[in-house]
């Protein structure tokens, strides 16, 4: 009676070891679950969003991206914690000369102003996208995300998640590729 039981338990132990090893290997592999926008290489779709802060009362629309100047389009929100984390990197991008347009998702004017007062304002324009209209149209699946738009208003590059320090040179390079000098 004892021996078969022991053999069974040893088999269970080996099974456990095998499973743990397999699972550990599996978890080392990178996960591919980001949703890339299908809009890369295409023109910005038509949209019109109210500008907040400086220039309140004006509208931000797709035409303004077709003035020959490449820009960064940063999709963010005051309620988004990673957006706080990327604030210094946005400031650095602005210092290096990038023109950054901010679009705040599902947000209120008061909270937007408070956020910009707390963490700095790297944007040339901030528009408010209360119903995620633009976000949906350009294929963004969350906040924060950053797009490189060339001077013709074509989406050239998409960065998912918060911008980390190592991403700053990447984004600058993409801006240059899009024609920025």
């Amino acid at each position: 009676m004892t021996r078969p039981v022991v053999i069974l338990v040893i088999a269970a132990l080996l099974g456990l070891a095998g499973f743990v090893a397999l699972a550990a290997i599996k978890m080392q592999q990178p996960q591919d679950d980001f949703i890339r926008s299908a809009m890369i290489g295409q023109s910005l779709p038509a949209f019109a969003l109210p500008v907040t802060g400086e220039g309140t009362g004006e509208q931000l629309n797709a035409a303004e991206f077709r003035d020959g100047k490449p820009r960064l389009l940063n999709v963010w929100a005051s309620w988004c914690v990673p957006c706080i984390a990327e604030a210094p990197q946005l400031a650095e991008l602005q210092r290096q000369g990038a023109d950054i347009v901010g679009v705040a998702i599902n947000d209120t004017q008061g909270n937007i102003a408070q956020f910009l007062a707390d963490y700095g304002n790297p944007y040339s324009v901030v528009a408010s996208d209360e119903l995620s209209q633009l976000q949906l149209k350009i294929g963004s699946s969350g906040v924060p995300e950053t797009f490189v738009i060339d001077g013709e208003g074509v989406i050239r590059y998409q960065h998912l998640g918060d911008i980390m320090e190592r991403d700053v040179p990447v984004l600058m390079a993409e801006l240059r590729k899009a024609g920025w000098q």
Partner: protein, 650 residues
């Protein structure tokens, strides 16, 4: 300040767990000499204090969520000041850190309760049990304190919180995870009992009786948790199914299967001192399955509808805890195999024999589900991807479920130790006739697959069979735990009937409708009267209004929605259900086609609700048994005390 208080309490509780482990182990080594006795006297109070402290920490976290303290990272990431209070509170455990804190709180409270109330076990086994509990607990404390501190503050408070995943903003779902957690924790207690009994080589009826209420409690919570989860998937995912063999569903089913087996083998051990090794093994397996479940949900190594809880780093931690606890217990088992495998013998045709068959079959089903769930990981490592679904689980599982249902009806009729089938010949023939006539009856209604047909027959047999143990007894004097068994087995029959009926007789209709046009599904005629947009606090939706008429009864309104949430962007279907006593109409609205007509999907599911009624009955049976056992224990304790008093007086 509240967060700091909570964190301090958590650290203190962790320190007490360390003390509980050290004092327990040292006391066991020192024996009952002076130092040993002093150390042993520490263990119970320390366990109680640990339970109180960590519960205090959990209450502090709840308080932070109640007042939406946005300087705490966890609150900022999972709550929002505009949320209703109930969802603010549910936010406490609707995230990784909080749910782990809930887990350790319940576990430590259970330890405290054992320390306070457990008097049946030999003192040394109790010490070993509480030490084992502290050991398991320390793993979770380390996890919380070093990698998932729930009380961490933000450098800068945020203006507003991020909210809670919209799929989870549902009252049923606010309660579903903690229900399963209570089940998992109950199984961890059983695991500690098993380790304790192994250490002191005292595996016997006392151990089984001490452990039984915990196993029963865990089993009740798991039953209700799975039932609720199944209903959520049914109405929220909008696919019209109630079980998808999704890895995470399987992750909750596997501990239940192991706990069900354990529940039965523990009864044999308690009343007959047999199945020692098997019971210990099941304790280890049941706990491994609950840790495996937590691991599968958290690590995201399998694709699942529950992918919102994923984090690989945390998965690694749980995997390490799993390997440490289960591996350690298995090694201990090998060292103690000689003592454990002894026990009373019994004949094959006996109550014990039937329970062993039940256990073997349940284990086989568990093995099948485990293999099917982990198979994709195995093949992925070999370089190809497969997905395992209903075509595997349903028929392969059924091979073992069918005989198990038969044993369920027959087993309770047998006597302990030795019996013969001739003695129960009459009820056996009666049950066989019943099954056969139910099969013939449902064939006359219409044939639709062998599994539903057999399911229908066996359900009919079990509906009556589950009440046969009451035959010839005075119903008022039948113990509560027997009632519990009867009700649970009856619940299985009810659920099985619902499943078979849903599988056999569901009618599905996919239609493209203009507003005003009508369609037919089964006995229902449905008119799409209107479609209009609607806006909610954080979503917009297309809502269809339908008038549904069952045969000639008055029409009822149904309003399914297709919702779009915008943070994060997510589409959900809100199905509309019209419930009658004999089934449900299930309506889903889709998108608008090019010809301006609306995609509408309708199901008529006869008796589908019986699946969940059955689940509730199964849980209710468990509750009756638990109450019966607890009352029995109290009476027994009272009687022992009286005898002792009388002896002292003499």
């Amino acid at each position: 300040m509240i967060a700091e208080l909570g964190l301090a309490a958590l650290w203190l509780a962790a320190a007490l767990a360390l003390l509980q482990l050290a004092a327990g182990v040292l006391a066991l080594r020192a024996g009952s000499s002076g130092t040993g006795a002093t150390l042993a006297a520490l263990v119970r109070p320390v366990a109680i204090l640990q339970g109180l402290l960590v519960s205090f920490a959990f209450l502090m976290l709840m308080w932070l969520f109640a007042r939406t303290d946005l300087s705490v990272a966890l609150v900022a990431a999972n709550s929002h000041s505009d949320k209703p209070v109930i969802f603010k509170l549910a936010g406490t455990w609707g995230n990784h850190e909080g749910s782990m804190l809930l887990w350790i709180s319940v576990m430590a409270l259970a330890g405290g309760l054992i320390g306070w109330a457990e008097r049946r076990l030999p003192e040394s086994t109790l010490l070993a049990t509480l030490a084992a509990q502290a050991f398991v607990g320390l793993g979770f404390y380390a996890f919380l304190l070093f990698s998932s501190n729930p009380f961490a503050r933000l450098a800068q408070p945020v203006a507003e919180g991020m909210g809670l995943n919209p799929l989870l903003q549902d009252i049923g779902l606010a309660l579903h995870p903690p229900t399963l957690y209570f089940g998992y924790v109950g199984l961890s207690v059983a695991f500690s009992f098993a380790v304790g009994a192994l250490v002191t080589r005292q595996v016997g009826p006392d151990f089984a009786r001490a452990m039984r209420p915990w196993v029963l409690g865990a089993w009740i919570f798991l039953t209700l948790g799975i039932t609720a989860g199944s209903y959520w998937a049914y109405y929220e995912l909008g696919w019209g199914g109630w079980w998808f063999w999704d890895p995470v569903e399987n992750a909750s089913l596997m501990p239940w299967l192991a706990a069900t087996a354990l529940l039965h083998s523990v009864s044999v051990l308690a009343s007959r001192d047999a199945l020692r090794a098997w019971t210990i093994m099941l304790c280890v397996v049941a706990f491994s399955m609950s840790m495996l479940g937590t691991f599968l949900v958290r690590s995201g190594i399998l694709t699942s509808v529950h992918a919102f809880a994923v984090d690989p780093e945390r998965g690694t931690f749980i995997l390490a805890l799993l390997a440490l606890n289960v591996g350690g217990a298995l090694l201990l088992f090998i060292l103690r195999a000689q003592t454990v495998t002894e026990g009373e013998r019994f004949a094959v045709t006996s109550r014990e024999g039937a329970l062993v068959v039940n256990n073997v079959l349940l284990s086989a089903i568990l093995g099948i589900v485990l293999l099917g769930t982990l198979y994709p990981i195995l093949t992925d490592a070999l370089g190809f991807r497969v997905s395992v679904g209903p075509p595997y689980f349903n028929p392969v599982g059924a091979i073992f479920v069918m005989p198990m249902l038969a044993v369920m009806a027959v087993g309770p009729l047998l006597r302990w130790r030795r019996d013969s089938l001739e003695r129960i010949q009459k009820p056996l023939v009666f049950l066989a006739v019943l099954v056969l006539s139910a099969v013939i009856l449902s064939l006359m209604v219409g044939y639709s697959g062998i599994l539903p047909l057999l399911g229908m027959g066996l359900a009919a047999g079990l509906v009556i069979g589950s009440f046969l143990p009451l035959r010839g007894r005075n119903l008022l004097r039948v113990p509560l735990n027997v009632w519990g068994m009867v009700v649970s087995h009856f619940g299985i029959a009810v659920a099985l009937f619902g499943m078979s009926s849903e599988a056999a007789w569901s009618v599905e209709k996919l239609a493209a409708l203009d507003t005003g046009s009508q369609t037919q599904v089964g006995p229902w005629s449905v008119v799409l009267t209107d479609v209009r947009p609607r806006a909610g606090p954080n979503w917009t939706a297309i809502e269809g209004t339908m008038l549904a008429r069952y045969e000639d009864t008055a029409p009822v309104e149904a309003a399914p929605q297709s919702r779009t949430f915008w943070s994060p962007v997510q589409q959900t279907t809100e199905s509309a259900l019209v419930t009658r006593w004999n089934g449900q109409l299930y309506a889903v609205i889709g998108s608008q086609g090019d010809d301006d007509r609306w995609q509408v999907r309708l199901w008529w599911k006869p008796f589908v609700t019986f699946i969940w009624y059955g689940g509730i009955l199964i849980g209710l049976g468990g509750l009756l048994a638990l109450i019966g056992r607890l009352i029995g224990d109290l009476k027994r304790r009272h009687a022992t005390r009286r005898i002792a008093d009388r002896a002292a007086a003499a």
